[in-house]
């Protein structure tokens, strides 16, 4: 039996990462104006229209919004246009973008709603390729790490329809904690990855110390995806090897092509959440707050721990600069070694250009600039680990320190590239378009278990797993009926070594 490799982040590892980043910064050529409220925006490679205009841009905001709000005014002034930016939570993107697509008023540059298959966007004619607007696009694409731009993911019919400026190598469920409360509870997450028992004990002690003024743990419980994110990632850390992304990747173990929802690791993760509640360690209002609200309560001293993403770093740095907090990897089940997390190939925050847009030359010019090393450095310096820049050299030169550097170091160590069925067979995209997450979804099942409206973790997760299996079977069947050449075997990757990246050569072996 193959020995499991342990993934542990220690203080020493983190320090090494931070030092390495610092060394690279001092060794590399650092632009003179890294971030001083000014950007060195280069002239366009070819003349842009002089007619001006208003470019509308929508994305999921957070730290991206912070960056765009600094860059856009300068860029717009330099090109003689105006830019209207809407940074909205995903929940709003999921509502607004589809309706805007439907009535033909979608922004010039937008992000597709979560789970919407890009292939559908292309085939339906909602988007246009960037090729005509990004000068020397082949050369520009060549500067990105391999695996960011892929046919079937963001390239279709030989053209690039989606542009990615950020990497997807991150998790949204890191352990973020109050240094003071955790220290008073007698724990130091920097000493090594905490176990479930330790998390539970720490939460109990923090709650006891809080004496009704603060609690051990908090979560934005009415934002249902948070429940699923925590259980999914914790399950992976516990050893339920599975993919990440949309319905056709998430929770699927690519060794056998089956959903992992009823695995022991998922059950343990759900049990941990229920125990935090039954211990009285959970903040009392978690079911009536969303993730940003829960995040905002942390610096106010309402709770000691939250499982959230690196996007908290920038927000807390801005809103509560004096508050001391730490970031650490997700906890591991007792007696187990932490296992890798997986991402699919490709980048994140893919930007699409509306088919109706007349601002393509400006959007392409801006995206091209942001893909250069200079643009990526600017990005990394503001956005940090929240949405890591896709160019690793630029990240190194950005001179990140503190929690951002630590988070990036953690992600580099914990996350591997896993298989992606759509890279293997583009017809999987047709399945994605046909698929419907069954009601109640895993996220809602966990929420229902937490509120006590559903009983029996094992029975509920088994039912849920079966629903997911049936839903994927049905989607495959419908796709095949429409002529797609796809079977459930497309989700089985027998050559997947769960301890190494799954690259192009692995696909060729299949």
């Amino acid at each position: 039996m193959k020995k499991k490799k342990e993934l542990k982040i220690s203080r020493r590892t983190v320090m090494k990462g931070a030092l390495a980043a610092g060394a690279m910064m001092s060794a590399g050529s650092i632009p003179s104006k890294l971030f001083a409220g000014e950007f060195n925006i280069p002239d366009p490679l070819k003349p842009l229209p002089t007619t001006g205009g208003n470019m509308r841009w929508i994305d999921s905001g957070d730290m991206k919004g912070v960056f765009w709000k600094k860059l856009f005014p300068e860029y717009a002034a330099s090109r003689g246009i105006t830019i209207e930016y809407d940074g909205l939570p995903w929940k709003e993107i999921n509502k607004i973008v589809p309706i805007a697509i439907r009535n033909g008023t979608v922004h010039d540059v937008f992000q597709l709603p979560i789970g919407m298959d890009p292939g559908v966007a292309v085939s339906e004619g909602w988007v246009q390729p960037w090729d005509d607007y990004i000068e020397n696009i082949d050369e520009w694409l060549g500067a990105f790490p391999s695996g960011v731009y892929l046919p079937g993911v963001n390239q279709f019919n030989g053209k690039t329809y989606g542009t990615c400026l950020t990497a997807n190598k991150r998790t949204g469920t890191c352990l973020l904690y109050s240094e003071k409360y955790m220290s008073e509870a007698g724990y130091d997450p920097q000493a090594g990855r905490m176990t479930y028992s330790e998390i539970r004990d720490a939460a109990k002690k923090i709650t006891k110390n809080g004496n009704g003024q603060y609690y051990g743990w908090i979560i934005g419980g009415n934002q249902v995806n948070r429940w699923e994110d925590v259980v999914h990632t914790f399950g992976q850390v516990g050893g339920a090897h599975s993919g990440r992304g949309g319905f056709t990747n998430r929770h699927i173990n690519f060794q056998n092509g089956k959903f992992q929802i009823a695995s022991d690791q998922y059950m343990e993760a759900v049990e941990l959440l229920l125990q935090l509640k039954s211990d009285g360690s959970a903040f009392p209002g978690v079911m009536s707050m969303n993730a940003p609200q829960a995040r905002a309560l942390m610096p106010q001293g309402a709770a000691g721990m939250i499982f959230q993403g690196p996007w908290c770093i920038g927000v807390w740095g801005r809103d509560a600069p004096d508050w001391k907090y730490g970031i650490a990897s997700e906890p591991v089940p007792d007696g187990k070694e932490a296992q890798p997390l997986y991402i699919a190939e490709g980048g994140s925050n893919t930007f699409w250009l509306s088919a109706n847009s007349t601002m393509g030359p400006f959007a392409g010019d801006l995206i091209r600039f942001m893909g250069t090393e200079q643009g990526q450095i600017y990005w990394a310096q503001t956005v940090g680990a929240a949405d890591p820049a896709v160019n690793p050299d630029a990240v190194a030169k950005a001179g990140l320190t503190g929690p951002s550097a630590q988070a990036l170091s953690m992600f580099a160590e914990n996350i591997l590239v896993g298989p992606n069925p759509i890279v293997r067979n583009k017809d999987v995209g047709i399945v994605a378009a046909k698929s419907r997450v069954p009601d109640p979804s895993l996220a809602l099942v966990i929420q229902g278990l937490y509120t006590g409206q559903l009983k029996g973790v094992e029975a509920q997760l088994k039912d849920c797993n079966q629903r997911y299996e049936d839903a994927l079977d049905k989607a495959v069947e419908e796709a095949r009926a429409d002529g797609a050449n796809v079977t459930r075997d497309d989700w089985v990757f027998p050559n997947w070594d769960v301890y190494s990246n799954y690259g192009a050569e692995k696909y060729q072996e299949l």
Partner: protein, 304 residues
């Protein structure tokens, strides 16, 4: 007598038709056409975004009536209606009786105060109420804790047992002013000489209200109940902003259910406009049925 041909009749009444035309066009565009299209869409397997839409007959209806979440939302909508309308009707009436008393000099002030939530944007109220009922530093919980009514904060909007009553309470508060105004309008139709005659005959207090005033305003009551009942079945903005139907569907009424399936799948797959239309049509027919029943009741009462 020789009857004029239809064309001649229309020509003679051409000005009437001309004046009706703008309203007919607008009604057609914004009422008839959407209703007709929703009936048509309900027969399709269609996300609402793609060109591909497959005709599947009544399959969406079959799926809806076999979906436990559909029926839960359906029943919850009526729970909401039966839980709020009687409270609003009775409270609105009591307040209107007090404020209809011309001796009460501050009546206009109180009327304004009670009516104020009606003119406040409902989405704003929904968001503000999430803070009011927050277990962490929310004024409602602060009050309960400071008066020792509870020892621990109550998660009003996060507890499946309290979420619907809380939203219902906010709904009653928000719209109580309009019910009060309906009642005031009804009460002001009672002529002063009726009061005077009743007093001369020795009918006061309970007897005056039950035997004289109530029979006069009863036809109004039926209209008010009808308007209130239909209103209580249309509570999308308040629930969407306060709970979005959660936790775990505890406050999901039909409109939220339809919205969720038509536009927002939190789980991140394509929405189902065809299915949502089927649920909407089913729901619309149910509401229409109730409205017709109430209409018949009103007609019968008027006859009495």
């Amino acid at each position: 007598m020789h009857k004029k041909p239809l064309s001649k009749q229309i020509y003679d009444a051409r000005w009437c038709y001309l004046f009706v035309l703008p309203c007919s066009i607008l009604t057609g565009m914004f009422v008839i056409y959407p209703i007709g299209m929703s009936w048509y869409f309900s027969l399709l397997d269609w996300s609402g975004f793609t060109k591909e839409a497959k005709f599947i007959g009544l399959q969406n209806y079959y799926e809806a009536v076999n979906d436990e979440f559909f029926w839960d939302a359906f029943i919850r909508s009526f729970i909401f209606m039966f839980g709020t309308v009687p409270v609003k009707i009775v409270l609105g009436f009591i307040i209107a009786v007090f404020l209809n008393n011309q001796v009460l000099k501050l009546a206009p002030f109180f009327r304004t105060v009670i009516f104020m939530p009606v003119v406040t944007a409902i989405a704003i109220i929904g968001i503000v109420m999430t803070f009011v009922f927050s277990p962490f530093n929310g004024p409602a919980n602060k009050f309960l804790m400071s008066t020792n009514l509870t020892s621990a904060p109550i998660d009003f909007l996060g507890n499946p047992d309290t979420v619907l009553p809380t939203v219902m309470g906010v709904y009653v508060w928000k719209w109580l002013g309009i019910t009060m105004m309906y009642w005031l309008a009804a009460l002001q139709t009672v002529p002063q000489d009726v009061y005077d005659a009743a007093k001369i005959d020795g009918a006061e207090g309970y007897r005056l209200w039950v035997h004289i005033i109530l029979p006069i305003v009863l036809p109004f009551a039926i209209v008010i109940i009808l308007v209130e009942a239909v209103g209580a079945l249309n509570v999308f903005p308040l629930i969407e902003t306060m709970t979005a139907g959660g936790p775990f569907f505890s406050s999901e009424v039909m409109e939220i259910y339809i919205f969720r399936t038509a536009f927002v799948t939190d789980s991140g797959t394509m929405p189902r406009l065809g299915y949502a239309c089927a649920a909407g049509v089913f729901w619309g027919v149910a509401v229409l049925f109730i409205t017709v029943l109430q209409g018949l009741w009103m007609r019968r009462t008027r006859r009495i």
